[in-house]
Symmetry: C2
Subunit: 213 residues, 2 copies
């Protein structure tokens, strides 16, 4: 943005079809635009994001994105979907090494949920914070459901229930609400402000204990 370079290599992990440096075609503009979107959403906030900015960052004209996305919303959706993939894989990674059936696994999921909100507040806001009509995409709902199912599975094991029963669903709903709200509040004001100096892990353990009996 601050330099005027054009067509810089921005592949973000995908293989460009040409190895050349300044071709007419970009190589993988779609991925580059998603990465630019992610970056701008975090830097300036979702509300200030503009397609034009992303184009400047990726070094293409302002009409280029419309070969890859239907409109601005579709660009944002793509960035959010990418973020959810990262989110889910980190969640699963956080579970490794913790014994099955341990409430600590539920705590770990919560920790990772909050971490995501703090690490990528812009993407988090886009996914969860907006008005219903903002981004209503079935793929987003499905992704959220998948994450939720990971939590339900852990709760079922903790409660020794035979699968995802009504009671598991209820506890999951309560825990999810809590972690969700906690993420919003912490993203807004941090842990140590206004005389609240709680340890995050303590809080989550406390709540997990209360909710799992």
């Amino acid at each position: 943005m601050s330099n005027g370079q054009k067509n810089q290599d921005y592949d973000a992990g995908s293989q460009p079809r040409t190895t050349g440096k300044k071709t007419y075609h970009h190589g993988d503009l779609r991925a580059a635009l998603i990465e630019a979107t992610r970056q701008l959403v975090e830097e300036k906030g979702p509300d200030s994001f503009s397609v034009s900015d992303a184009c400047r960052l990726a070094g293409v004209s302002t009409a280029a994105p419309y070969k890859h996305f239907k409109n601005k919303t579709e660009m944002l959706v793509a960035a959010v979907l990418e973020g959810m993939l990262r989110h889910r894989s980190r969640m699963l990674a956080a579970l490794e090494g913790i014994p099955e059936g341990s409430p600590e696994r539920v705590t770990a999921i919560g920790m990772e949920y909050v971490s995501f909100a703090l690490r990528e507040p812009g993407i988090f806001s886009l996914k969860f914070g907006g008005f219903t009509d903002r981004i209503a995409d079935p793929r987003l709902e499905e992704g959220g459901q998948q994450s939720f199912n990971i939590l339900l599975t852990e709760i079922a094991k903790c409660l020794d229930e035979p699968g995802i029963t009504e009671e598991v669903r209820r506890r999951g709903f309560l825990l999810w609400s809590f972690v969700h709200g906690l993420s919003f509040i912490l993203r807004e004001q941090g842990l140590a402000e206004k005389g609240q100096e709680f340890d995050l892990h303590d809080l989550l353990e406390d709540v997990a204990r209360r909710m799992l009996n």
Copy 2:
């Protein structure tokens, strides 16, 4: 919006300076614009809100608002502040008639919190859902703190603590997080979707019990 009337009387509870009908001056354009903003934010969503729309709805030119508000954000802030006033007074009204020290008072606060999110999802989103930079106004923070203090006072009475102690603050933080998250989730998907058919009052009572011991 659907009719082409201009300068319709839109006073929204404030006394216009003239009783006339079609004056050059509006009477109380500021209040009319705030009401128009509120209405549009609920109808089309906060992201689709435009100053121009509000002007059309209030029947004035697109430059008129800038005599009353610094910019678009200030208009939204004004609408949110008004919403928070309504919210707080309903919260206090909900407490009337419930005996002091009863956990039911905490439940009532939660009910009212969730109700607000469902009744005015647009304003709720603007206040809580946005990116940190979206609307960062000290008046909004102060208003939120006031509502939070109402909750803390009730919790202190329930726990028989001598005022707002560290423990009260901790429980309040947990409860607030829960209700906050619950509001977001319900606003997005409702209570009865996806096989979740819980009774709202039951849920809140359950959580209040768990959190207040």
